[in-house]
Amino acid sequence: MSKRSKMLLAVSMASMMLLSACGGGNNGNSGNAESGANAPANNAAANNTEKEAEPPAEAEPVSLRVFSTFGGTDAARESFQALIDEFTAKYPNVTINNDTMSANDDSFRTKVNTDMNSGNEPDLLFYFVGKDAEGFVNAGKVVPLDELLEADATWKNGYLPTALEAVRQPDGKIYAAPLTGFYEGLFVNKKIFADNGLELPTDWAKMTAAVKALSAKGIIPLSGPFDQSHYLIEHAILSGAGAEGQKSGLANGVNPDWETGLAALKELYDLGAFPKDAATIDLGMAANYYSQGLAAMIIEGSWALGGFEESVRNETTVLPFPTVPGGKGTGKDIVGGFGTGFYLSKKTFDDAKKKDMAIALMKHLTSPDAIKKVSEANGGTPAADVQPEGLGQATLDGFKMAAEATSINAPVDSQIDPETFTTIRAGIQPIVKGEKTPKAALEEAQKIEASKQ
């Protein structure tokens, strides 16, 4: 027995050594391969004569991870990849891991926060500003960009000053370099309205008239899910409470104007505004209904335009969500602004090897030229003073709406705790079905918000 086990031990030891030897060999090989590939690259870099941040002749290989939402079905995916390719062509010693995830999903936030909290920070992170970023900003995981901006006038002056102001955190510093802004609004399929002899929903009476007529004809009037009802809630509350009122938050009790806004959703539901399966579909499916021409309206953001079927996109115009009855909104208040930007992680900033290249990449990705390209792709409002070209009519309508807006507001969910907001989301179905009053639903959310303070 003992002899046998000894033999087993010997065999396992031997195989372990063999395995580890293999591992070592592999490492060695890959290491060689890398340096081999980089050798000509370094030469190329040396030949490269660029004005700014010239790479040292014997540039060390640097690997950067950029985590953003420019992937999957994102309209700007290709433009973004092209920008990255431009950069790596300029600095061949830099390898960029273009890591992406859809922002449509709650798990994007989770992934970012997990990375930030577990020492796995991306070098550059494209993420929301405001409440969403508060955790890792306050924990010092990212560096303020103010000094870097001051030090590089070309970079700073490339920006519209308002865009930079919009991404300032509550502590007064700028952590995120914005790229394009966004607006949200009521996307309307003009063709469906014209075919049914309806007026565009520019005020509440026209809205309800359209909803009634469309739902009688079996067309979904307003596509939107109850669970992922972010945009519905944002617009209902903005329209009910107005630009000032929506900032009141929930910590100090429920603002009755918020109830007015949510009550209007019930009115729409009673008229048959939402898809029959609104309770169980997600945002993607809701957008799909609109994109397929099954729905006449949807509340979405500027980023969604690129995803719609071309025939529907060409018939789309963008309007502000009309003021609900008794609401304090002007009917021209919109949700929008510069809600995202590139963060530079502290870890990268402190890493002498990566620091310069990471900053150079950030500047490259947020140059006026880059901003122009991305906004041409995704229809977002540029953060620099550039004129995007080749935009569709719907995008131009969106810009016009933003230009004529009486106020451009951060979405209400960026001002309250995520759990508070999900509580409101969970209340939407009971509210529209009449199982819960808006007051009760908001009070429930208020309790959660208060417990967070």
Partner: protein, 285 residues
């Protein structure tokens, strides 16, 4: 025997390390976190039993527990039941056993998420497969994911997905029954249904018990079907999705961990109860 000790230890060590890293440590950490009020990832404060107080007054959690139990009922009756029926039938045929075993086992290799996406397209109200079929027949469309029917609709793919697993377990158990039992029965004139009831099932009772415990604890892990098909809406919230929402969507790890602890306790209690209910002398052959 004494000399074996260190080898026992040595061979158990890798498993023990993995279990500690991926089961015990996370569980203890959850237990620890359940005493904190967390605000996102970076801020936590000790609050004692506050999360547990909330747990016992949370009506959503109560609903999620009931929904989990409802799915469990479907799983026990249909998943285990269909698996047993299929196993008995396949065990009784002489040709093509291998074929049926493969076919019935197949759904398990497909990921739950893929099946869920498939069923999203089957159940969809606007252009789903089922409603498309009804429209062809001129019947009015049905809202499959309705407020009362969603959980049942979701139970269908959930049950279907794992029938094959239990089917294979049953079939293996049946193949272990010595053929002399059946020969003796044949001489006595006992065949068909009677044979199944009086010989096959009593002889695989211990396997049925294992399968039931697996099915019950497995139900506590149901997540993908619910999340993708209904996002926990329309009365489909189960413990798994509720915990995920609280911990990952709301970033309230404290309360999320408390729910996780609750799920573990609930699971242990359920399996103990099952064990007690099924306690019977095992028949050996």
């Amino acid at each position: 025997m004494k000399g074996d000790r260190k080898y026992i230890f040595m061979f158990l060590l890798p498993a023990a390390l993995l279990m500690s890293a991926f089961v015990y440590y996370p569980f203890l950490k959850s237990l620890y976190l359940s005493f904190f009020r967390t605000n996102g990832f970076f801020d936590k404060k000790f609050v004692g039993f506050e999360n547990y107080t909330r747990l016992f007054t949370d009506s959503q959690l109560g609903a999620a527990t009931l929904h989990t139990l409802e799915i469990m009922l479907y799983v026990i009756i249909f998943q285990v039941g269909i698996a047993l029926v299929l196993a008995v039938m396949v065990d009784n045929i002489s040709k093509g056993k291998g074929f049926f075993r493969t076919v019935f086992f197949f759904p398990i290799v497909i990921s739950g998420a893929a099946i869920s996406l498939l069923f999203v397209l089957i159940y969809n109200y606007q252009f789903g497969l089922l409603n498309g079929f009804l429209a062809k027949l001129g019947i009015e469309k049905i809202l499959w994911m309705s407020e009362t029917g969603s959980l049942k609709a979701i139970a269908v793919p959930t049950v279907w997905h794992y029938v094959g697993f239990y089917f294979v377990l049953f079939l293996t158990a049946m193949s272990k029954i010595p053929s002399d039992f059946y020969e003796a029965a044949k001489l006595e004139g006992i065949t068909g249904f009677k044979k199944t009831i009086h010989i096959t099932i009593p002889l695989i009772l211990s396997d049925i018990k294992v399968v039931l415990i697996l099915a019950i604890t497995g139900t506590l892990k149901v997540f993908d079907f619910i999340w993708i098909l209904a996002r926990g809406q329309n009365g489909t919230e189960v413990l798994g999705t509720y915990m995920y929402k609280k911990a990952m969507v709301d970033l309230n790890f404290g309360y999320g961990s408390t729910i996780a602890v609750y799920i573990v306790v609930f699971g242990v209690v359920l399996s103990l109860v099952t064990n007690r209910l099924l306690k019977k002398e095992d028949i050996t052959y």
